[in-house]
């Protein structure tokens, strides 16, 4: 479906996915463009003037809440942080919902997968306090965990991860980069006393990841997901399970294998 072409340089033509469930199509809209606008501003203008029922998630409009994730010309992005002047004048702009999760309507997908996975992560469990009742941590020790805490749960890393993007069947046994970041944050927390290494391997499917770094590339918070979270976790899992001394120590400390090893289906991509 097409409306008219932009008449002047101060107008923009944008194609937006419209539809519910499995049906839908890209619909083209033309609206005026103001200085400094981001993609989300244009979507809002279309909503206000052409399509009042156009579904879109957003909150902060400042890259802090991670609500307005979408695929802009095929690239997973936050619409609120994508400036319109990134596009050449007259360039066709196409906005689609994130594709890894089922569509609810228009630009809104059902991301409940992520909230279900979050429930399966053993929480932070603090070590005992110092003798004076205080807790001490040093900045150099919290720095790397604070990097992980920058995650705004936009789920763009989940959207782009081909283990689940192209393989619905893997969703059961693979939690995705967002949760490897979360698990890394817990594992590397200076005060955490919980052990999740068995779970990371068996239940969250760390082994599925073949380090293509797609997640890192799309992270709007510039978290080095692959290098700083996933690879160190893989190393810890390997050490815990395949280093005989570490393995024996864990046995002696009473850590148990609670989960059967995963049967990963290697991604085809």
């Amino acid at each position: 479906m097409t409306t008219e072409a932009p008449r002047t340089a101060t107008e923009v033509r944008m194609k937006i996915w419209r539809g519910e469930g499995s049906g839908g199509e890209h619909v083209e809209y033309v609206v005026p463009l103001d200085p400094g606008m981001v993609v989300l501003d244009v979507v809002h203008r279309i909503q206000a003037t052409h399509a009042p029922d156009l579904a879109v998630r957003w909150n902060c409009k400042a890259g802090k809440c991670g609500s307005c994730s979408a695929e802009v010309n095929g690239a997973p992005k936050l619409m609120c942080m994508t400036r319109m002047n990134e596009f050449a004048p007259g360039e066709e702009i196409t906005i689609s919902p994130v594709r890894t999760f089922p569509l609810i309507k228009d630009l809104v997908s059902d991301v409940s997968f992520n909230y279900e996975k979050a429930k399966t992560i053993p929480p932070f469990k603090p070590k005992p306090k110092d003798a004076d009742g205080k807790r001490r941590m040093y900045q150099e020790d919290v720095d790397r965990v604070q990097e992980f805490h920058k995650c705004i749960e936009c789920f763009l890393c989940q959207d782009v991860c081909h283990v689940i993007r192209d393989h619905e069947e893997n969703k059961q046994s693979f939690s995705g980069p967002r949760f490897f970041v979360r698990l890394a944050a817990l594992e590397m927390h200076p005060l955490d006393a919980n052990d999740r290494l068995d779970l990371i391997r068996a239940k969250h499917g760390l082994g599925f990841c073949n380090i293509t770094k797609c997640c890192t590339e799309v992270c709007p918070e510039d978290i080095h997901i692959t290098d700083n979270a996933i690879i160190p976790l893989k190393e810890r899992v390997v050490t815990a399970h395949y280093d005989p001394i570490a393995w024996a120590l864990r046995r002696m400390r009473g850590k148990r294998e609670d989960f059967a090893p995963p049967q990963p289906k290697p991604p085809s991509a």
């Binding site: 909503q47 009042p52 029922d53 902060c60 603090p126 604070q146």
Partner: protein, 614 residues
């Protein structure tokens, strides 16, 4: 009654920001069957946007600090209009609430000896804000979210609660709709905690997201509860102003806390001209002392850049109106010439990112252009200080939706601590109440009437566009109920609101009920307009200038008005306003506030700074 899916709980918490999550955690821990219901996805509430930090007298950076000084700063910052007991509880309990977050996994920035680092903020005598760079709210909400999920608390995401159900004057539940499907949902609950935040979306230039439509206040009012001090709105002095699409976006007070200074177009540090008598004893009157204060608080007074927000916002307004503003109608905020680039990037990473990405400004090299933005409302639901109970049995309120804690002006950093302290207290009291209460009866006629109102916009005839009405509302509130107010304009605003209300009744929503933002906005507009009316009428009633309420026609603070709350309530379908005396602090706390006659001191000296209107 029409078939509506019903969920049954002891306690429902409406809103999943800091206050709502903290309340739910506490109610659940007390054994109440608890659910949290939120308009957005979990973790996206406004708390996530809080930047600078959580105020708590931990004494990690300045050991001289303690709750008494925090109490003093809060009461003075609120121009003595605050509820003393809330300010006391807040100051006393905030440190425990912050340390509790650490027990749940939060990672604040550290001092050299490994404790929680604290930063300077406006109106606080000592560096007091526990923080994580400039993304403290994200750390706080994620910590609470993860903890709540780990406790197994039920969460209803993307579910909007729209009306409270009552049984003979007490709360019996609530009714709302799922955003995804459009299906209605009814909650039966013995107690309801409202933690829905403010009403910022009534203004054009605001730091608030779409969610801030005054829902909690509107529901409480409808259910018979009192609101107080609704004229007290906070314009945060530093919002982005250019380009237009980011106008209003928050620039953290932490920029000034970490050494940034305000300048007018000719480079003058103008805040030295705007030190009111009430704060003169605490505030440096020259640049050298102000700059020394960051390092040596014992021998220097605080920079006027960090006066309370109401003072700074009015000063900026005056500079701009006097023709000393920037190209786009603001002033400059400069940290580039005052701190090294790596320090700025480490302390203020999201400010650096925000300006770089959205405004093409490198804040380590250039000044920021900023101006006031509607950020917060001090007024809200009247609550009991100890239990957060509203004036309707079974109803509780915590966070921005509640009132009293911040008086006429909130200090930066006192909001996050408020959410934790009173969120916990509300959850505790609601669970306690639920234990001793039987479930209220659901009045089918009432539920049916509300259900009909929810779906009405689909049935109505008319051609009004809800987005256009919203834009007009925002323009009207911005122009007529802004930083500087006067009688004629407030009356004009009220007339305008009546016209808008009539137009909302002619909004016809198109499309299906599935995730339909036009429908959601049509419903939100009723709350926005209803609460805007309460703000305008309260502003008309308070004939003085104090904190977040400045009247051009009554430019001074009035000691009499300093002892009164403006109370709004709905009786026989009509909004009724009155004044009631504010409880006065006991002698020992009065002493902490300082001054022999503090009300007179607020009122003396120069009149409130007013720049006039265009």
């Amino acid at each position: 009654m029409a078939e509506i899916n019903t969920a049954v709980y002891d306690v429902i918490v409406v809103g999943a920001g800091g206050a709502g999550l903290r309340a739910a955690i506490e109610a659940h821990a007390a054994g109440a069957k608890t659910a949290v219901i939120c308009k957005s996805l979990l973790g996206k509430a406004h708390t996530v946007m809080a930047e600078g930090g959580i105020a708590a007298a931990l004494g990690n950076v300045w050991k001289e600090d303690n709750w008494k000084i925090h109490f003093r700063d809060t009461m003075r910052g609120g121009k003595l209009l605050g509820n003393w007991r809330m300010a006391q509880l807040h100051a006393q309990e905030a440190p425990d609430r912050v340390l509790e977050l650490e027990e749940w996994g939060a990672l604040f920035d550290r001092t050299k000896d490994g404790l929680i680092l604290q930063r300077d903020f406006g109106g606080h005598r000592y560096a007091r804000l526990a923080h994580v760079g400039d993304r403290t709210g994200l750390e706080m909400i994620r910590t609470l979210q993860d903890h709540a999920v780990a406790q197994g608390i039920d969460v209803f995401m993307e579910c909007t609660v729209r009306h409270l159900l009552t049984d003979g004057g007490r709360v019996a539940g609530a009714i709302g709709y799922w955003r995804q499907s459009g299906a209605l949902v009814l909650f039966r609950a013995k107690a309801v905690v409202l933690a829905t935040g403010g009403v910022g979306k009534a203004w054009k230039v605001t730091s608030n997201s779409w969610e801030y439509t005054g829902d909690g206040m509107a529901m409480a009012l409808e259910a018979g509860a009192d609101l107080i001090d609704m004229e007290m709105t906070q314009f945060h002095p530093t919002g982005m102003i250019w380009p237009p699409s980011v106008r209003g976006l928050l620039v953290t007070e932490g920029v000034r806390g970490d050494g940034g200074t305000l300048r007018n177009a000719s480079g003058e540090r103008f805040m030295f001209k705007y030190i009111p008598a009430f704060f003169r004893g605490d505030t440096a009157d020259n640049e050298a002392e102000a700059d020394r204060w960051y390092e040596d608080k014992r021998n220097n007074r605080r920079t006027p850049d960090l006066l309370p927000r109401d003072e700074v916002a009015r000063a900026i307004n005056t500079e701009v109106k006097a023709g000393r503003g920037t190209e786009h109608g603001g002033v400059f905020l400069d940290i580039a010439t005052r701190r090294p680039a790596d320090y700025i990037k480490r302390r203020l990473p999201s400010m650096y990112h925000q300006f770089k990405e959205l405004a093409d400004v490198d804040i380590t090299k250039e000044q920021m252009e900023i101006g006031p933005t509607l950020h917060y409302i001090m007024g809200g639901i009247r609550v009991d200080p100890d239990t957060a109970a509203a004036t309707v049995p079974g109803l509780y309120a915590a966070g921005e939706v509640a009132a009293g804690m911040h008086g006429a002006n909130r200090l930066g950093g006192n909001s996050l601590s408020d959410l934790l302290v009173f969120g916990r207290r509300a959850g505790q009291a609601a669970a306690e109440y639920a234990k001793g209460a039987t479930a209220g009866r659901i009045d089918d006629a009432q539920a049916d009437a509300f259900a009909k109102r929810l779906t009405e916009p689909f049935e109505r005839q008319g051609d009004e566009n809800p987005y256009a009405i919203h834009e007009e509302l925002q323009n009207a509130m911005q122009d007529l109920v802004g930083i500087i107010r006067r009688r004629e304009e407030l009356e004009e605003a009220l007339a305008h609101l009546e016209r808008l209300r009539a137009r909302v009744a002619r909004v016809h929503v198109t499309g299906t009920r599935r995730y339909n933002p036009g429908w959601h906005l049509a419903l939100d507009l009723e709350n926005l307009i209803g609460i805007s009316e309460v703000v305008a009428r309260s502003a008309l009633m308070r004939t003085e200038s104090r904190g977040g309420h400045t009247r051009e026609d009554f430019p001074k603070a009035d000691p009499e008005w300093g002892m009164k709350n403006v109370v709004s309530r709905r009786r026989d379908g009509r909004l009724v306003l009155s004044t009631e005396p504010i409880p006065q602090p006991p002698a020992d706390l009065r002493e902490l506030i300082g001054e022999d006659k503090p009300q007179e001191k607020v009122a003396t000296g120069e009149p409130a700074i007013i720049g006039g209107k265009e």
